[in-house]
């Protein structure tokens, strides 16, 4: 773990991998760290607007002693994402993984995933769980418009577009689950730490 100062009131905690970042984020929530924002990402957790920077720096050193290697199993009920697997990049991803499209669907639906972090757009969640598979490259030419509800793969992550936007993820399916509703108390259906399972449905 490496702790970097960011500006005058923020810290960036850098760790070895996404699982470690998820553990730091979990721990930050458990300890109710006083910061305006705690933002997990692929290999970092940002603590922005921290009330007491030097105290958090000292505290973080003691967190490191809590060695763990497993990926956090997430919290709360499993969110099921009903998915029609008919995305335009199914064949391409299946070839990349050297499996049939049927096997791709089975792989994708048999894995319980956990959201590592959100980004790109409100409610866009990076779901982890397929780290054993070859990382999926982004499209060379991002699509100018990806419809809301598109289920895509990039790197080791699965994501669902909460709203229509440009995007470079390889699309394997679509869902009609609402991923983002700003009028709800919890606007994001999938938040860091959420447990997720993709379920195949027929279009």
């Amino acid at each position: 773990m490496r702790v970097l100062r960011v500006g005058t009131d923020s810290l960036l905690v850098e760790v070895a991998d996404t699982a470690a970042a998820m553990r730091v984020y979990d721990e930050a929530r458990r300890r109710e760290v006083k910061a305006a924002e705690v933002v997990p990402a692929a290999r970092t957790v940002l603590f922005a607007g921290v009330a007491d920077l030097s105290r958090l720096e000292v505290d973080l050193a003691s967190w490191e002693s809590e060695k763990a290697t497993s990926r956090p199993s997430g919290s709360g009920l499993v969110v099921e994402v009903p998915t029609v697997y008919d995305g335009p990049d199914m064949e391409s991803v299946a070839r990349h993984w050297d499996v049939s499209t049927r096997e791709l669907v089975d792989l994708h639906t048999s894995t319980e995933m956990v959201v590592a972090f959100c980004g790109f757009a409100p409610g866009f969640a990076y779901c982890t769980g397929l780290e054993a598979m070859r990382p999926v490259p982004r499209l060379d030419e991002p699509r100018t418009k990806v419809p809301a509800g598109s289920v895509g793969l990039a790197d080791v992550f699965t994501g669902v577009y909460p709203s229509a936007s440009p995007g470079g993820w390889q699309l394997i399916g679509r869902t009609d689950l609402v991923l983002w509703d700003e009028d709800r108390e919890q606007p994001a259906t999938l938040a860091p730490g959420s447990r997720v399972r993709f379920v195949e449905v027929s279009g």
Partner: protein
């Protein structure tokens, strides 16, 4: 019945802004909010509003607003001509508007963004605790369009006279303090000396997401791709082009390019007022 505003001329870009949306960055929600918080706060004080009241933020070109009932208003930030039904009125002072009158703010004389406050604040529907228009994610009220109507809230305080020195001319060259890191070591040796010994020109492609700069490119030492990481307000990110940009309130919550330094919070208001063509010089904080 509450007082209504009718937008007669929305100008190039006028948005509703308040203190912004905090506590949702982990869900991918930008903080948004008034870019020049000092000017927005002052506009609110002049009409007796609390700091969290929503104001209107213009961009370079001014705005024209008709009120349905009598209300106090004030214009701060980028200096501009202020008229009520065509009569010149003072900038950065409380103004009494009567029913049916039109407040017109002209193009910014210097600086970039003027702020219009109205007693009671602009009562747009809050989204995640804020009435700010987020130009990146689209959250919050839409940008103003000609013909649009807005409601005002209920006034809660007394209007104040001018109580701080008002900036009457924003300089064309700004010195901005920079706190190094967290990724300055991703650049070639001496990057901070290099960065602080040159001047950058503010690009016309700047917006509420960030002030884009044109000038000498920063050279990377570390060629690897940076996994996306959380961004803070004022972060100076250096994309593949090597041309730095200073992130403002509508910045994305995460980014995949290294951040060489972060602008000191007290200099963000200056950054918010930099118009295209202005010069920016970094100094170490």
């Amino acid at each position: 019945m509450s007082t209504k505003l009718t937008v007669l001329d929305a100008g190039p870009l006028t948005t509703v802004q308040d203190l912004g949306r905090r506590g949702y960055a982990h869900l991918g929600v930008p903080r948004s909010g008034a870019l020049d918080m000092a000017a927005a706060g002052y506009a609110n004080r002049l009409v007796g509003n609390p700091p969290e009241a929503a104001v209107l933020e213009t961009t370079l070109g001014g705005v024209s607003i008709q009120v349905s009932g009598s209300t106090m208003a004030a214009v701060t930030g980028a200096p501009a001509s202020v008229t009520v039904d065509g009569r010149p009125r003072p900038f950065a002072e409380p103004l009494l508007l009567r029913a049916g009158e039109t407040l017109t703010v002209g193009p910014a004389v210097s600086g970039l963004r003027s702020y219009l406050s109205f007693a009671g604040g602009v009562d747009a529907t809050p989204v995640l605790g804020s009435r700010s228009t987020d130009t990146l994610s689209g959250l919050g009220p839409p940008r103003l369009t000609s013909g649009a109507k807005l409601e005002l809230g209920v006034p809660v305080g007394e209007s104040h006279g001018a109580d701080v020195p008002v900036v009457l001319r924003y300089p064309d060259t700004a010195r901005v303090r920079l706190v190094p890191g967290p990724r300055h070591d991703w650049f070639t040796e001496g990057v901070l000396d290099f960065l602080t010994s040159t001047s950058y020109t503010v690009s016309a492609r700047s917006n509420r997401v960030g002030v884009r700069l044109e000038g000498p490119s920063l050279e990377r030492r570390e060629r690897a791709e940076l996994p996306s990481e959380g961004l803070v307000l004022g972060a100076v990110q250096v994309p593949a082009s090597g041309q730095p940009l200073v992130f403002l309130n509508d910045h994305p919550t995460t980014g995949g390019y290294p951040v060489v330094g972060v602008v000191a919070p007290e200099d963000l208001n200056v950054c918010a007022q930099l118009r295209p063509g202005c010069m920016l010089r970094f100094v170490l904080a």
